[in-house]
């Protein structure tokens, strides 16, 4: 997950490089550092550096890192011959390397030869059973073949070994939500929030899942997590503000006839509604009437 500053820096570099302003190497290094997926740009600019022998020799030892990065980007864009050339060049230079072996297995995976790739990965894992990337490639392969339950199994095994990999927990949560197994997804998000309690995105996702499961307690907890998201983002997260309005009306519906939570709930809702209206006035003033009617219908139905 990238922060806003990093994202804007990346965008600026991207625009600069796209318009021929140089700085391709910085852009590629930033992409590598942030681990974002910009494969078409990486391919274009990486190839332009590699094909220019002057620029290539300037890189020195980093040349091989660039080969690896371009090979992976080429596989993502399905330019398999480019990927093959890069991998061959790497193999010539590092003939005994496991890292190159991994790239070759990825190439098999990109071609769609699942069984050969599976064999290659298993043999690589025998030599090095703690290679995170290979484990993750196996999960990706299962997912790509449509074998979602297999992917879940592999991912669970991976997480038993590497419990601190929060990206993997997030991936598992997303797989569970796509299968509508919301309780398991909630568990995954709990793990992620424990590991990284200051990232508002996870609080938001957790609140979403809790609301989807439904039930009074869950919706009340969801409201708390929406509130914490707003806290963490300084009140700017539109989704969380809407979430609070939805939660309050859902709670009111579920507790019809009981007057306990009235004061506290309605205060929070009116605050959220005001913040939303302010936000809309600033950014989309012509949509403001729809917002007000929608909010009214939410409170009326409660």
């Amino acid at each position: 997950m990238v922060t806003k500053t990093e994202e804007s820096e990346l965008k600026n570099l991207e625009i600069q490089v796209d318009n021929g302003g140089g700085g391709a190497w910085e852009y590629l290094s930033l992409v590598r550092k942030l681990k974002v997926r910009r494969s078409d740009k990486v391919l274009k600019h990486g190839l332009s550096i590699l094909n220019d022998s002057k620029l290539r020799s300037k890189l020195g030892a980093d040349e091989w890192t660039l080969y690896e990065q371009v090979a992976v980007a080429a596989m993502d864009c399905q330019c398999l011959d480019v990927a093959q050339d890069c991998t061959k060049a790497l193999r010539k230079r590092f003939s005994e390397s496991k890292r190159v072996g991994r790239l070759e297995a990825m190439l098999l995976e990109a071609k769609g030869s699942w069984e050969e790739a599976e064999k290659a990965y298993s043999s690589l894992l025998e030599d090095n059973p703690l290679d995170q990337i290979i484990h993750k490639r196996r999960v990706a392969m299962a997912k790509a073949q449509g074998n979602i339950s297999g992917a879940i199994e592999w991912l669970n095994k991976y997480l038993e070994i590497f419990m601190a990999d929060h990206d993997a927990w997030r991936e598992l949560a997303e797989i569970y939500t796509s299968l509508q197994m919301y309780k398991q997804a909630a568990f995954c998000y709990e793990e992620v929030i424990l590991a990284q309690p200051t990232v508002p995105l996870y609080h938001l996702a957790y609140a979403d899942v809790l609301y989807t499961i439904g039930g009074l307690e869950n919706v009340q907890t969801a409201k708390k997590y929406y509130a914490s998201t707003i806290d963490l983002t300084g009140g700017k997260n539109t989704r969380a503000l809407f979430g609070i309005c939805l939660c309050t009306s859902a709670i009111a519906q579920l507790t019809k006839g009981k007057n306990k939570e009235d004061k506290e709930g309605s205060q929070l809702q009116s605050l959220a509604a005001k913040a939303l209206e302010r936000d809309y006035k600033q950014r989309a003033p012509d949509k403001l009437p729809q917002l007000t009617t929608a909010l009214k219908s939410l409170t009326l139905s409660s």
Partner: protein, 142 residues
């Protein structure tokens, strides 16, 4: 679901919006809502517009509820309704309507019995880039 044979007309506006949305997010599933009206002679459903919804975290309820409420509000002032649902799967060879899409589609059908669900055919989308075929790249189901 519908008792008589209904025709469905998809306007260019709606079609293009949906295709562009799926192209913008090639690595995730996307979905969207179809807006339109039923024609006065009561035998054609005209799909005049489309609103792309999400490209990640599709099956989560709160966002869906809010977006449907806001969309209803906005389009009812123009006299249009939600008439259908659009879905594109993540993987290029997944050509089935998953559980989530079915649930959302059923929900929309409850409010508008003649609603249609359009599923994007990812393979044909790819071919579109290379050739200039003008065949429909979506499969309709009711």
């Amino acid at each position: 679901m519908g008792s008589n044979d209904l025709k469905y007309e998809v306007s260019q506006n709606a079609y293009i919006k949906l295709v562009l949305h799926s192209l913008k997010h090639p690595t995730s599933a996307v979905n969207g809502v179809l807006i339109g009206r039923i024609s006065s002679s009561n035998d054609t459903v005209e799909i005049t517009d489309a609103v792309p919804l999400f490209h990640s975290q599709i099956p989560l309820l709160p966002q869906l509820e809010i977006s449907l409420i806001l969309i209803e509000e906005y389009f009812s002032t123009k006299g249009l309704n939600i008439v259908g649902y659009f879905h594109a799967n993540e993987r290029s060879d997944d050509f089935e309507l998953g559980g989530v899409a079915k649930n959302i589609g059923d929900h929309i059908c409850r409010y508008f019995p003649q609603a249609a669900i359009l599923l994007l055919d990812n393979k044909k989308l790819e071919a579109l880039k290379k050739s200039k075929s003008s065949s429909a790249i979506m499969q309709g189901c009711i």
